[in-house]
Symmetry: C2
């Protein structure tokens, strides 16, 4: 009925080694794990699940699926200022999954455990008649009461974003065959950004005390900025010419200027969008140099109109508001 | 494309109210939740996922699916001696799911939040082209270093089990139409036990300081006892006539004595199987009375054979070892 070893053997061979350095995981040999925050800290907890055919392509390499599933969660922790420490993993496996696939998936996890200093502490594997589904729950440490919220942006704050925006969404267009006019090297850069997010874990931790509010960009710059604005009851004005673009994204937009909408609303960026007082701009510039991650000011927060919802306005190069077709990317 | 409101509206209407009493959930209006153990305590974390058609039947009532998904996780916390406090939830929804289904699912969660004193603190909803899938991650509090392990049973311990064993597995037989000779009232009792586990949350907490090792019975009495024995390096001898059976299970076995194998290996019991020194039998009897949950001694732990794996022996009424066909129930 299946080409896989039984669950116990899978755990023994593949998953247990991922848990060996975390004492409270008990070698995945108990019913539950124990985790406690460091002194004077508390835990930040996040879960996000990926479904084949919805959040990644069914033939994406197993290592990349594993790393993406972990990284989309680490990205949330980073945006909150937390230091990632541990995660749990639920795997729903179709009967077509082979032991080789599992081995590669686990290899991807091992690479990112090393890179980000996190450990597997528990999980569950199940068969499914449906698509491969990966649910990750990640835990990070943060000083008590210090989590960077969505809801604490203030009028007068500048709006910043890390890295570059739009690459992943353009990469997905390429994978769907909707960008045939792009050269191979541009296409590959964009695809890589879709398949393997780069959560801003080191930088996020350093935003404690600098950012007044933050969110990771997963639904799209416009939609996630709106989340911050609505939670904080402020309006944002963004100068879209200042939104940081990679050379690949610039090439893609050069070939078809309508792609700016994909960039601003597409999602899957896993950058950090944050608000901060303009007075910290200098400190942020030094931090950007130090951790080698671009930080770009793209706009400002203003008072929300009295008696109406917070607004997000995206201005084009001539200062006119852009009318964008989509409000980010939800999975419905 | 779908009959459901968008994710944001689903959260607003249905899930946010489940989070309102837990400050660190921030009304599900941020990217992550904050949780800290009580003073001198640590967190016990567990995740288990359920897939329609694998762990529950696709037409099971939504309330019961929700409660089962939560309860199978609370059962693990209970067996570890932890007091449940919070949970996260990933929902993978096929496009056939209606808003009415969600409303009922959330109603089931609300009922059990009230019953067990837990709160939703985060989650993720996604569409899936596959079967409905529910992943829950539960958190409980426990005094630092006190989690009841699997691996700490000692030779000379008595083996105890709570409640009755086998009802859920027999209920599944009924649902599959493999027990046509049972009366409706017997059948319904068994089906209820399959659909709605009764995690021993109050009792589990009281086993701290009494049980030397514990596990919740989900894979089957035989398989879960083997987990304890292998982790603890002790052998178990069980007198199967002492395994506690409900009147319904006794009726089912009366109609077909081969069903004893289903009872001992079937799984989904969500009772607590534990080892404890015989000297605490009196205290356990009083505890059983107080919390109104049967606790039955069913056997003993012995030294494992030198140089070989821990053994589990199930004796029949004449003291002869039973040969059981299956070793519990794995999902592969």
């Amino acid at each position: 009925m299946t080409s896989l070893p039984c669950e116990f053997e899978l755990i023994e061979r593949y998953f247990r080694p991922l848990a060996k350095a975390f004492p409270g995981a008990y070698g995945l040999n108990d019913d539950a794990a124990v985790i406690a925050p460091l002194p004077d800290q508390e835990l930040v907890a996040k879960t996000d699940a990926l479904v084949a055919g919805v959040h990644f392509l069914p033939d994406d390499p197993a290592e990349l699926v594993a790393r993406k599933a972990l990284r989309v969660n680490l990205s949330d922790l980073a945006a909150k200022g937390a230091a990632p420490r541990a995660y749990m993993l639920d795997l729903m496996l179709p009967s077509t999954v082979t032991e080789e696939w599992i081995a590669k998936f686990v290899y991807g996890l091992a690479q990112d455990q090393e890179r980000y200093g996190v450990h597997l502490i528990g999980g569950d594997t199940n068969m499914t008649p449906g698509p491969l589904t990966v649910a990750v729950m990640a835990f990070g440490d943060i000083e008590r009461g210090r989590m960077i919220r969505r809801s604490t942006a203030a009028r007068g704050d500048a709006v910043f974003v890390t890295g570059t925006i739009g690459d992943a969404a353009l990469g997905l267009e390429v994978l769907h065959g909707r960008a045939p006019n792009l050269g191979a090297s541009v296409a590959n850069v964009l695809i890589d950004r879709y398949r393997l997010p780069q959560p801003r874990v080191v930088l996020g931790r350093r935003l404690l005390g600098l950012a007044s509010a933050a969110i990771d960009v997963s639904d799209g710059l416009l939609a996630d900025l709106r989340h911050v604005c609505e939670a904080s009851n402020v309006s944002a004005v963004i100068e879209t010419v200042r939104v940081p673009l990679s050379a690949a994204a610039r090439a893609a937009i050069g070939a078809d200027p309508r792609r700016i909408a994909t960039v601003l609303t597409g999602g899957d960026d896993y950058e950090i969008l944050f608000a901060a007082p303009p007075s910290v701009a200098g400190v942020l510039a030094e931090l950007s140099e130090e951790v080698r991650v671009p930080i770009t000011a793209i706009g400002r927060m203003e008072a929300a109109p009295i008696g109406s919802k917070a607004q997000v306005t995206m201005l084009d190069e001539s200062g006119k508001p852009l009318a964008l077709r989509r409000e980010g990317w939800t999975h419905f």
